[in-house]
Symmetry: C2
Subunit: 453 residues, 2 copies
């Protein structure tokens, strides 16, 4: 008995927490892909091509939203519910589920499990993690329920009571988890609702709440009691607000006269659609105006916003708002001739700046590599490849139309990119944090200088 436990212990310790996460994601994707490839999962009762089932499962678990087959018309109710569950598992993070199950079974949560949780949510102190896990589930279900009710008021008149409620729930889950899956059919996404105030504002709110990260969400909810915000929360909230407002203004200006996007809409519609276009790259992936009909400048702006993405510890992807904010403030410090990055009257240690640089550069290199490979194996325009690569890596789910034209190799590349985009940044962050705790520079080399610029 003792020996067995010891062996288990050794086996267990062979995996880093982040590897457990990565393997867990892979396992959920695998199970999901098998379920989705069953005849029962498709509307016409024929088994779905495994590659498409795998693509859908990966896209759902990684809350990306890119689809090779249309969710609403291809999959049966069974298939759609599988997708919704995959989104929920992927979005909240399966570690919350593990904690939930542990709580249900009445087992005490070990320090190790807490540590895994901590790294999963990228938060700082251990004691808050269990509390956070409960918050996550409570908050997620509460917000999704509120969203579902709001959306149902718009869907019920069109689809009837049951289907209307179901559509409300599905899209609320998809929006809060920043998944971007929809049931509207024929790859329309939310374009039929471009002028609908309730749908627009509800979905935008769900995306934003899901995208600022559970830690910040908790801080915001507790703000009435605590009356203070951490630096991180301030950074995330201000960066998010800044990106939404600037993005909205730019989309409004760039697309104002484009007859295929904002041109034909009412003023209210123009404002709602610009807001939505600015919010959805953080990294929801719904769209209310045709992405492929946007101006080149509008498409490029979308690519940039997608690359920045959402906030750490959230359902969204990208390099993260706080990373972009930190790099930007470092450039400001450099231009001002300051020695250290300063944000809201706090100095930021260089190790954070270096990590932000690392995450950004690695992400950039991956997007460049995927774009290049896509341009070799697929026909199409450069901006389609760059858009698709960024969308897949940042788990956004917007496309200029390339997804449905993907060849087998193209599909495999995007599947891998979605997985790396979801698991990778966390893996890198954890690997770095782990090494920085265990490694000290054994050899301290003398300083020297090189020329720049």
């Amino acid at each position: 008995m003792f020996i067995k436990e010891k062996i288990d212990g050794i086996k267990f310790y062979k995996f880093q927490p982040v590897q457990i996460l990565a393997l867990g994601f892979a396992a959920v994707i695998l199970i999901g892909s098998i379920l989705l490839s069953l005849p029962i999962a498709s509307r016409d009762g024929n088994p779905t091509d495994y590659i498409d089932a795998l693509f859908t499962a990966t896209s759902a678990v990684c809350v990306t939203g890119l689809v090779t087959v249309d969710t609403g018309t291809h999959y049966s109710l069974f298939g759609q519910i599988v997708i919704m569950l995959l989104i929920q598992i992927g979005g909240i993070g399966f570690m919350t589920f593990a904690t939930l199950i542990a709580l249900i079974l009445g087992k005490k949560i070990s320090l190790r499990e807490r540590l895994i949780m901590q790294e999963a949510y990228n938060t700082f102190n251990i004691q808050g993690v269990v509390k956070l896990a409960l918050y996550v589930i409570g908050i997620t279900f509460s917000i999704e329920l509120l969203g579902a009710v709001a959306l149902s008021t718009q869907f019920i008149p069109k689809y009837g009571l049951l289907k209307g409620l179901y559509f409300g729930l599905f899209h609320a889950v998809s929006a809060f988890c920043n998944a971007g899956f929809d049931l509207i059919g024929n790859f329309q996404s939310l374009t039929p609702y471009v002028e609908n105030t309730v749908v627009n504002l509800t979905v935008c709110a769900l995306i934003i709440f899901g995208g600022i990260g559970f830690a910040v969400l908790t801080e915001v909810i507790n703000y009435r009691k605590t009356k203070k915000l951490s630096l991180h929360a301030k950074v995330v909230l201000s960066a998010t607000a800044f990106l939404i407002i600037i993005g909205m203004i730019l989309f409004l200006v760039l697309e104002y006269n484009n007859p295929k996007t904002l041109g034909q809409l009412s003023m209210k519609g123009k404002l709602l659609a610009s807001l939505f276009a600015s919010v959805t790259p953080r990294t929801a992936g719904f769209n209310t105006i045709s992405t492929s009909d946007m101006t080149t400048a509008g498409k490029f702006l979308t690519i940039i916003l997608m690359f920045i993405g959402a906030s750490p510890g959230s359902t969204g992807g990208g390099i993260k708002t706080s990373t972009a904010f930190l790099l930007f403030m470092t450039v400001v410090a450099v231009v001002q001739g300051k020695e250290d990055t300063e944000i809201y009257e706090k100095r930021i240690n260089k190790s954070y700046v270096y990590r932000a640089l690392g995450i950004t550069m690695i992400s950039f290199i991956i997007v460049i590599a995927v774009t290049m490979v896509l341009s070799i194996v697929q026909n199409g325009e450069f901006i389609e490849f760059l858009y698709e690569a960024t969308s897949a890596f940042a788990t956004v789910g917007l496309t200029l139309g390339l997804t449905t034209r993907l060849t087998l190799i193209g599909k495999i590349i995007i599947i891998i990119t979605m997985y790396i985009g979801r698991v990778g940044p966390l893996t890198i962050t954890m690997a770095i944090a782990h090494k920085q705790h265990t490694t000290t520079n054994l050899i301290k080399y003398p300083e020297d200088k090189i020329l720049i610029g």
Copy 2:
């Protein structure tokens, strides 16, 4: 008399050295544009449109090489010689000319003038600057002369003795100064010489020598005596070699079967053309294969190489090889969990990393902004705009064909971009260096942390 001197002194001190450089460039551009707009400068004896003359003069002084009218067929011998002089002035830097004139007139070089020189060449110690200025001119003329002789052996058989020698000289100057202007005619650049070993290797050598920076060039030339290289020289030489080799291999692979680029060439031609395609974005701007017929991946690779560009204190542009190398090694350090960036067993202070980040981010933002503006004011594909913006900013001179299609607004945007691309990075670097010497962080804020990735 005393008062007059004092007033002059005050006036003089009102300008930062870098502002003097910027104004000097502007003055040379202005004079050049007037000369080029004269009837005598054009082949048909009609005055050239001022906007095109201004475009050519800016492109020449900023050693960019983008042209709205073909240099060989549009301009007269007079016009071409003006262009060659503008290239030479822009390439070596007019500060060397100022020093030269000062030496000829027998005036002692003041500390202030030496400081200006120092900042112009971005080197470290003051005493070496005068020596360097002499070196620059000596080395430049020597290398250009050698190059001109080598190229003439190929041009004389085709164009006769005089024209052959003239062509040899013009293209040697244009190559060493990384200007990319050519006289071959009809925007052909060096495509007729794609299989010519002498032309290819001579031009590549001139581009590389011109692009590694005078400081490194001096170190390399003195290596036999000194037997040591500075860290900066090691970084520049290894980064340059790495980029050339990787670029060559990638171009060979990407374009191997493209019938419009490498496909129809002999094996020797394929190798020469891949080498040339890899060297020219550093930031010469000649081309031996059609840039617009490259694969999308080949075009994208060119954009990346152009953005990185040449080395500091050289005739080339871009964010610089050493900047890219430093950022890359910082990412390596981060992934390895090291506290500091280490290059060739030396630690690099964070201030250099921050500056590299600053230069890169600002350059990136400018390229993005120019791309976006071009996509609004011009018709065409996204990759054409990104390519053109990068080419203009990094003073490369390659184009996918947009330059000749530029509207008046488009021309003005590219003129401004070329000027900013040449003067800007130096200005930023100097401004930063200046501030870092004069400013200390007056308020030292407490440290705090934020989440990343």
